[in-house]
Symmetry: C2
Subunit: 235 residues, 2 copies
């Protein structure tokens, strides 16, 4: 039975790494003391070791040991044996590229479907949709495909931010970018604001956190959904 | 002799399309009454025809006729015969994908090097660097490569915006994204603020507009350069 938390962000403004979701994680990962950390998204170009240390510090608070997937000689086997997986944020292109390069996409998908608890934040959440086509990241490496795990049938836009009417910046708003996405892609997109996350248990998908999320469907005006909304049939 | 204007944006806040640069364009395109418009970046998913109309309205003010490249049966020949080219902004992935699909990259590069005056804004400016790897756009289509025209030896980051210390948003700042870029790519990046543009005449590259630009070099702390700076040897 699938078991995932798909979060917009790892960190809320003014608080520490994973702090806002720490209690939740304690319950979510209750059946294991050890979590495999996939550090490949490398935010700010951090080394895999440095990023893993940051994750370890956050999980220390709930008594869990973190082991970087990059520390294993056989990462595919490590995924298969994992009792919990955390894919941290950073750059979605780098993350996807590395997973393809290491030939780990199928193994990762397979263990998630089999029920290994999976936490994704930001790029780690993008990874769960059909593609990384609604990532906010800079295309700093060229992955062999934009196709992602497809655990959920819709794309995530993490760190979703509303248009700011007072802004004088002429770059596209997030909403405009997602509208452009729907000229070339049919899957729906869920704009997850920072603090929101999806909880997936089996086939049930629920919006969690205190905020609303924004739904973008091809050919339909975008609209808001409340926390608690059942998204099991959303696509 | 190469002749290009590479602009951060088509439009400044509170003014019309290309208004801020209109006088400059009148001089830049003085040797032709007709300009070929490459509309493929399709901002907001506009049709090619609708986007071309917007460009035509702006060029009406300086008495130039715009013809969309998509209107030609043989676009390669149209590029070869062009006396002026304008590549408008929108989505860099879509723009690059279309140019590769139509097999026009080499022809476009060749006429620019031969001296056909080229105006690029936003995505049309990204196109001039070695790659679109410092685009701000959403990866809504998967192009066969991120490699761009390489007319200049450094990448452009158009619509460059400084980190906003008062922001509570936890998405990466532009500066962080470019720092991440330099973990995987060696070419320098010029952050062009809205209103800035590069003027290229032969081998001379000069920063124009009233604003400073921000220079990002691999392994070097980012720094500012003034308008008027000679970038001919910048790489």
């Amino acid at each position: 039975m699938k078991k995932l938390l798909i979060a917009s962000t790892s960190t809320l403004h003014g608080s520490g790494y994973l702090d806002y979701i720490s209690e939740k994680l304690s319950v979510f990962f209750k059946s294991t003391d050890t979590i495999i950390f996939i550090a490949y998204a490398r935010p700010s170009g951090l080394t895999l070791a440095a990023y893993t240390e940051i994750a370890q510090k956050a999980f220390d608070k709930i008594g869990k040991k973190i082991i970087g997937l990059h520390e294993f000689k056989n990462p595919e086997k490590a995924l298969k044996n994992a009792k919990g997986i955390f894919v941290g944020g950073g750059n979605s292109f780098v993350l996807l590229n590395e997973l393809y390069k290491l030939n780990l996409m199928q193994a990762l998908k397979s263990v998630i479907i089999s029920g290994t608890p999976y936490l994704g934040t930001s790029a780690g959440s993008n990874l769960c949709g059909p593609s990384i086509g609604t990532s906010n990241d800079m295309p700093i490496v060229y992955p062999p495909s934009f196709e992602a795990l497809g655990i959920i049938p819709f794309n995530i836009n993490p760190h979703y931010i509303d248009p700011q009417p007072e802004s004088k910046h002429m770059g596209e708003t997030r909403a405009t970018r997602i509208k452009e996405f729907h000229h070339y892609n049919s899957q729906s997109v869920l704009g997850l604001r920072e603090g929101s996350f999806l909880e997936i248990t089996g086939d049930e998908i629920t919006l969690k956190g205190t905020l609303k999320a924004r739904v973008f469907k091809q050919g339909v005006l975008a609209y808001e959904i409340n926390s608690g909304t059942d998204l099991s049939n959303f696509k």
